[in-house]
């Protein structure tokens, strides 16, 4: 996966040198990648664990709106941010509990939650953006550290943390086990229910965080923010090599998948290819990734 991404980058850079200017790389590609990566890290765990979460887009929007409203209600900014994250955790936990306790199909439960969370946003905001938000709050995302926007640093740190959790902890191992074969995992003494709840709560928190960062960047919390982005995130995770059947995938792959989808749309914009074509190309690449996954699975279980 790394090789095609690099190859692609070189070709585009050759055609349009703007592509590798510092401003484009940092401000456009890395910045937009960071927003998707934060949520995609959680989604990677969800999908390795054999699930899927369609509610992240709405939870992104909800996180930003809750934090925005709290700030407007004169609650201190750090507390407001925590409240936003907390709401993300609660919605994720409800996803997890429902999936575990009532044995609901993750795709249906989280689809329902997608509507519920979006509905709550619209009821509370009446569809209007929450703004203005104070400069101190805006500066969180808009400031740079060592020439990189804070959101990039945050996404990087979170990725390193998740990489550690995935490869070095018992929880990480349990995630692979419940995605590979939940019944074997349960009979081996792994608490499948708790593991799933933690995964969905975590993903809810990450989605809310991405939404809060976006509210900070725009200086306003948009009621529609995140709509449809769950699909882009799932696509990036799958392109990064996470199996749609659960049980396999890596954080590194997800980073590459997110970078790739963002580089792709950025470069196509620079090459003046219309938005409509971009959507089509991403779709084709996603199908290719799924085909590849199916092929790998077939090969590994053929004997």
């Amino acid at each position: 996966m790394i090789i095609p991404v690099l190859l692609f980058t070189v070709v585009v850079a050759f055609i349009n040198p703007t592509f590798i200017t510092k401003a484009n790389v940092i401000n456009n590609i890395l910045r937009s990648s960071s927003f998707s990566l934060i949520t995609a890290l959680g989604m990677t765990f969800v999908m390795i664990g054999g699930g899927i979460d369609l509610s992240v887009g709405s939870i992104m929007g909800l996180g930003g709106v809750v934090t925005g409203i709290s700030i407007q209600a004169n609650i201190p900014i750090p507390v407001s941010i925590l409240l936003g994250i907390l709401v993300g955790v609660i919605f994720g936990l409800i996803n997890g509990l429902a999936i575990v306790k009532f044995n609901l199909a993750p795709i249906m439960m989280t689809l329902g939650m997608q509507y519920v969370a979006r509905g709550i946003i619209y009821i509370v905001t009446q569809g209007a953006p929450v703004y203005p938000l104070p400069a101190e709050f805006q500066s969180i995302e808009q400031n740079s550290v060592l020439g990189m926007p804070t959101v990039c640093w945050f996404a990087l740190l979170l990725a390193v943390l998740m990489l550690f959790i995935q490869t070095q902890t018992r929880f990480g191992r349990a995630t692979y086990a419940i995605g590979g074969n939940p019944e074997s995992a349960r009979l081996s003494g792994i608490n499948v229910g708790i593991t799933k709840c933690v995964i969905y709560s975590m993903t809810g928190a990450f989605a809310a965080l991405a939404g809060i960062f976006m509210a900070s960047r725009l200086g306003s919390a948009q009621a529609g923010y995140g709509q449809g982005s769950e699909m882009m995130i799932i696509a990036a995770v799958v392109i990064g090599g996470t199996s749609t059947f659960g049980g396999s995938g890596t954080i590194l792959g997800t980073i590459i998948g997110v970078l790739f989808t963002n580089i792709l749309s950025n470069s196509m914009t620079l090459l003046k290819i219309s938005m409509y074509w971009q959507t089509l190309v991403i779709g084709l690449i996603l199908i290719l990734a799924v085909l590849l996954d199916g092929y790998k699975r077939k090969k590994s279980t053929a004997m």
């Binding site: 070095q168 902890t169 018992r170 929880f171 191992r173 349990a174 692979y176 086990a177 995605g179 590979g180 074969n181 019944e183 074997s184 995992a185 349960r186 009979l187 081996s188 003494g189 792994i190 608490n191 199996s243 659960g246 049980g247 396999s248 590994s300 279980t301 053929a302 004997m303």
Partner: protein
């Protein structure tokens, strides 16, 4: 006259030569058994023959059916040419009825192009009656037992008018009585002119049914015997390439105090509503004892063990471990109390196919291998290597995928997973199903060694001969409860079968 000739058949997977110039001939009116250890190439050969593995560039050699060279690229091609396979796993659509299952894919059409249900129903009834099976073909097959489902699979094969029937381990989920019935069916088919190729690990069965035996080893022809020359020891030797002096090793040991006692266990039926598969079952086991739970398939043997282990809910019943009453609601609790359960079907709920060998081994002791969630990879590697050594698990690398192992080695991996958590009591549900003779012998040795060290082991096995040999005492399940007990010195196959069928 040969019905089928396979000449110099070879097949490679990548660089791996799984079949190397194999010759097999099947005469008409013959039942031929193909034997071999895991990885000998039996299944691959059969899959080439029936088109599941398309005959492609990785294959070479000739396949001659009825004097004509044939090469199939799908199972359907093979079926149309008269080769039908009955698989080890029962692959019926459980929610469809028998008639629908039997005619699946070849439904007769009426003039209007819709399915001619009348013919379907009558045809299914006829063919089942020929097999001596009298069932209502309108009932979903889920409600039938494994044996009946197997018969439906055979009916489905026969309705395709085969010249040649391939049976791949057809008895792996049948009991002895059901096996006898299947053997009778095969003989009857032979009289009607249908030749069969029979594949099984169960030697006594094979020697009973086969007219001729072809033995494969490491993808090559090892030997072949006519019925008159069948000799169990030589066949086993040819299969594994060495001799086993002691199939069921014996041990001297003294039995000590009670380890586990079960009182009045009642467990709900997994499929039927408001029905119990097990009622008021009670038994006990001493330290160092090997206890056999004998019962027919569907007698609730697995369900009883699963309920004790906390894998499925129980209605009522008490568990005492070393005299102390314990409440077990989840497998995790059972494992903490030193009680382990090796499942009946390792692919279904034993191994995790996406994980590697090491990860499968250490799954039950992740807590012990980590501090504050952080895993100690060094210790994990060390303990996995140690158990791989002591259980003689053969692999190229311990980080290879579990699916790269043969069935016997996979079973040893699942077993080592349990042993690592230092158990006092071990439930083994069909511990030798689908593994070759050599690996079986090793599993028996492991069981003996564990018992000698004082572990209590409860075994469920459909292979009665095996059960009688390795157990010290027997509890017989029939009519949904623990019917009676037998000691080693009073037990015979006949007595156990009699008791299992509820005839005593």
């Amino acid at each position: 006259m040969a019905l089928l000739e396979m000449k110099n058949v070879s097949k490679r997977f990548g660089n791996l030569m799984v079949l190397d110039n194999v010759d097999v001939e099947l005469r008409s009116h013959e039942t031929l058994a193909i034997l071999g250890g895991n990885g000998a190439g039996k299944s691959t050969l059969m899959r080439i023959l029936n088109g599941t593995y398309p005959y492609d560039a990785a294959c070479s050699g000739q396949i001659i059916l009825d004097g004509k060279e044939v090469y199939f690229s799908t199972a359907r091609d093979a079926e149309e040419a008269g080769i039908v396979m009955i698989y080890q796993e029962i692959n019926l659509q459980l929610d469809l009825n028998a008639a629908e299952n039997i005619y699946m894919g070849i439904f007769p059409r009426s003039n209007l192009g819709s399915i001619d249900w009348k013919t379907v129903k009558r045809g299914a009834e006829d063919i089942l009656q020929n097999l001596g099976v009298d069932i209502d073909v309108n009932i979903p097959v889920r409600s039938f037992g494994a044996s009946m489902q197997q018969q439906i699979c055979i009916a489905r094969a026969l309705v395709r008018k085969p010249k040649l029937l391939i049976l791949d381990e057809p008895t792996s989920c049948l009991t002895e009585t059901e096996t006898v019935r299947l053997m009778e069916t095969i003989r009857q088919l032979k009289r009607q002119g249908i030749s069969s190729i029979y594949i099984s690990h169960k030697l006594n069965e094979v020697m009973d049914i086969a007219d001729r035996i072809v033995i494969l080893r490491d993808g090559k022809n090892a030997s072949a015997y006519e019925k008159a020359d069948f000799d169990a020891d030589r066949i086993v030797e040819d299969m594994i390439g060495r001799s086993i002096s002691n199939m069921y090793p014996k041990v001297d040991k003294t039995l000590k105090e009670e380890a586990l006692r079960i009182e009045n266990f009642t467990v709900a039926h997994p499929y039927a509503r408001n029905k119990n598969i097990m009622e008021n079952a009670s038994f006990f086991i001493r330290k160092g004892e090997v206890l056999g739970l004998a019962g027919l398939v569907g007698s609730g043997r697995s369900e009883l063990l699963r309920a004790i282990f906390g894998a499925i809910p129980k209605h009522s019943g008490k568990v005492f471990i070393e005299g102390k009453e314990c409440e077990i609601r989840e497998p995790a609790q059972a494992l903490r109390l030193g009680l382990g359960y090796l499942t009946e079907d390792r692919k279904l709920d034993g191994i995790i196919s996406t994980m590697n060998i090491k990860e499968n081994m250490t799954l039950a002791i992740l807590k012990k291998l980590s501090r504050l969630q952080v895993m100690d990879h060094k210790q994990e590697n060390a303990i996995a290597q140690q158990y791989a050594g002591s259980l003689n698990i053969k692999f190229r690398g311990i980080n290879d995928g579990i699916m790269s192992l043969s069935g016997g080695n996979q079973q040893k991996v699942v077993l080592s997973k349990l042993l690592m958590s230092h158990l006092k009591i071990l439930f083994l549900d069909e511990p030798t199903r689908g593994i070759d003779v050599g690996a079986k012998n090793e599993i028996y040795k492991i069981i003996n060694d564990l018992a000698k060290e004082g572990m209590s082991i409860v075994i469920v096995s459909s292979e009665l001969a095996e059960l009688l040999e390795i157990c010290d005492r027997f509890v017989i399940l029939s009519k949904g409860t623990t019917r009676r007990e037998m000691d080693k010195d009073e037990v015979t196959e006949h007595k156990v079968l009699h008791a299992c069928s509820g005839l005593d």
